[in-house]
């Protein structure tokens, strides 16, 4: 186990007015593992990363990296971790290539290795067209990727990424996920904060869902999906809002576990064994001209996430 967080609590402010940004969090990340940290804005994700890297002092609890207590020795945390902060780099006149290479050098790489790793990352993320342009001419997405490269170029034992995919285009997101996976495969322990639940699902080994400072669920994506694995999601696009509102699934589809209508879009959650009845109904509606198109998918991790974090009071009682 590389990163070990035990019963970590961070309270901002004093007494009854104190805000528990992190509340009794225990989380481990081993070498070669990518752990995804999900949660709403303000759930305490960034606070957690800041305590590991030594920017924020925990109120109680323990953090160790390779068995070393980093609360007592924050300099060790800085040597052992690299972090991609949520804000992207302000490069000014510096080019991404220079910024990444300098960061590698500052993090201890030799000149040759710094240059080589920088070239690898720039190629891996297809950043060549921008690599030698001044930072002020670059888009948010390219800057974000540059910040990622700065954390990945000479990674620590622990790599922490705070919303690395923000502002990044869909094609480079895929490349980015591949690089994140590569970090873990090279032996880093990767702790990743993201809102892109669905995309992250393919890359992460384990997931921790944070709600109001507490971990409300933790495990592999398959385990978290649990009961939801048996469910499917039928999505229909009706021709008009009125048609969408008038749609009534037949009784053969069983008791619907949930039906949501938003504008022309209708989502029905059904049991897996009712798939053929659902397809028959959707096709009939399409033939009748009320539905333009439809799709059936397994219920996603996002559905699980939304279910777990829907009621802010519920997890406290759990």
């Amino acid at each position: 186990m590389v990163l070990r967080i035990g019963h970590l609590t961070k309270v901002y402010g004093k007494g009854a007015k104190g805000v528990r940004a992190n509340d009794d969090i225990s989380l481990d990340v081993s070498a070669g593992e990518v752990v995804g940290l999900f949660g709403h804005n303000g759930a305490g994700k960034t606070t957690l990363l800041h305590q590991v890297i030594g920017l924020t002092m925990p109120t109680s609890g323990t953090i160790s990296i390779d068995g070393k207590d980093v609360i007592a020795d924050p300099a060790h945390a800085r040597r052992a971790c690299s972090i991609q902060p949520q804000t992207h780099a302000s490069l000014g006149a510096v080019t991404p290539r220079q910024a990444i290479e300098m960061m590698a050098r500052i993090r201890g790489a030799g000149r040759h290795r710094a240059r080589q790793r920088t070239a690898e990352l720039i190629a891996g993320l297809e950043l060549e067209p921008w690599a030698s342009k001044a930072g002020q001419q670059l888009s948010g997405g390219v800057l974000r990727l540059t910040t990622f490269c700065q954390a990945a170029v000479e990674p620590g034992r622990v790599v922490m990424l705070d919303e690395p995919t923000n502002d990044v285009d869909p094609v480079r997101r895929r490349l980015l996920w591949r690089q994140i996976r590569a970090l873990a495969d090279a032996g880093c322990a990767v702790l990743l904060v993201t809102h892109g639940v669905t995309e992250a699902e393919r890359v992460v080994d384990r997931i921790a869902i944070l709600q109001s400072g507490r971990i409300v669920a933790q495990g592999t994506p398959a385990r978290l999906r649990g009961g939801h694995d048996e469910r499917l999601r039928l999505e229909l696009s009706a021709v008009s809002e009125a048609a969408a509102a008038a749609l009534r699934p037949p009784s053969e589809m069983g008791d619907q576990m949930g039906m949501a209508v938003v504008g022309r879009r209708v989502v029905v959650t059904i049991a897996a064994d009712k798939a053929s009845a659902a397809v028959a109904w959707a096709q009939a509606e399409r033939a009748a001209g009320t539905v333009e198109e439809f799709a059936i998918n397994p219920a996603s991790l996002e559905d699980v996430y939304i279910g777990l974090t829907a009621d802010p009071k519920e997890p406290r009682d759990a």
Partner: protein, 241 residues
């Protein structure tokens, strides 16, 4: 040492686009003090001329250390770059030293120009002491550490206002460009504790050594102020919220 050099390169790389402008402004301020104040005092006697020409150096160092440097720190705080910097695996002191070196180096060309212009403008010849090098370094260091102390220790909005206030006081209400005797008593007393008097004195007395010799008091006071600024800066850099 390795991190110090790398961080210095990093700071220079970052400042590269504004470097010519900064150098130009530095020179302009130095020369501006000499020329501008001589409009205020058309018949400059030798004392006034000495105060103005050496005062311009001190003002130049104060501008760099207590205005320009903290402004960039404040900017870094607002963009989040400050926190990012604090996550780097380098000694805090190397980080401070690298920044301070760059800022002091930035101030030097302006100082030389200002002094040359002053010598021509007032037709002065100086009795320069070799102590001028440590004196300028000490004034610069003290100025930068106080500037950093302010930028690191206070909220961005407050830091901005404070550095403007400092420049205003230094230019108009501090015995830098004129002798302390011309100030009202209370202000003169206040300046016995503030660093401005001693900065000006250290520069003035080493650029043109007075008959009575160079006073060690100014060096001592500046060292104390520098240490205080450094202590605040170091404390803020290592603080965990």
């Amino acid at each position: 040492m390795r991190s110090y050099l790398l961080l210095m390169r990093w700071t220079l790389l970052h400042l590269r686009s504004v470097l010519p402008l900064l150098l130009f402004l530095q020179t302009l301020i130095g020369v501006g003090v000499v020329v501008g104040f001589s409009f205020l005092v058309p018949q400059a006697d030798s004392v006034t001329a000495l105060y103005l020409s050496t005062g311009s150096l001190t003002i130049g160092l104060i501008t760099v250390g207590m205005v320009a440097a903290p402004q960039l720190v404040t900017q870094a705080k607002m963009t989040g770059a400050f926190d990012h910097q604090r996550t780097l695996p380098v000694p805090r002191l190397a980080m401070l030293a690298a920044d301070a070196t760059v800022w002091i180096a930035l101030a030097l060309p302006g100082l030389a120009t200002a002094l040359a212009v002053a010598a021509v403008r007032f037709d002065l010849s100086f009795v320069v002491s070799p102590l001028v090098v440590p004196a300028i370094l000490l004034v610069a260091l003290c100025s930068v550490s106080i500037g950093f102390g302010i930028a690191y220790g206070s909220k961005p909005e407050v830091a901005g206002l404070l550095s403007q206030l400092i420049l205003f006081v230094a230019l108009m209400f501090a015995p830098i460009n004129y002798p302390a005797e011309r100030l009202p008593r209370w202000l003169a007393t206040a300046h016995e504790f503030l660093p401005f008097t001693y900065m000006a004195q250290a520069v003035r007395e080493t650029v043109n050594v007075p008959a009575a010799g160079i006073s060690p008091l100014s060096f001592g006071v500046l060292a104390l102020w520098g240490a205080a600024g450094l202590a605040v800066t170091y404390r803020v850099m290592t603080r965990r919220g």
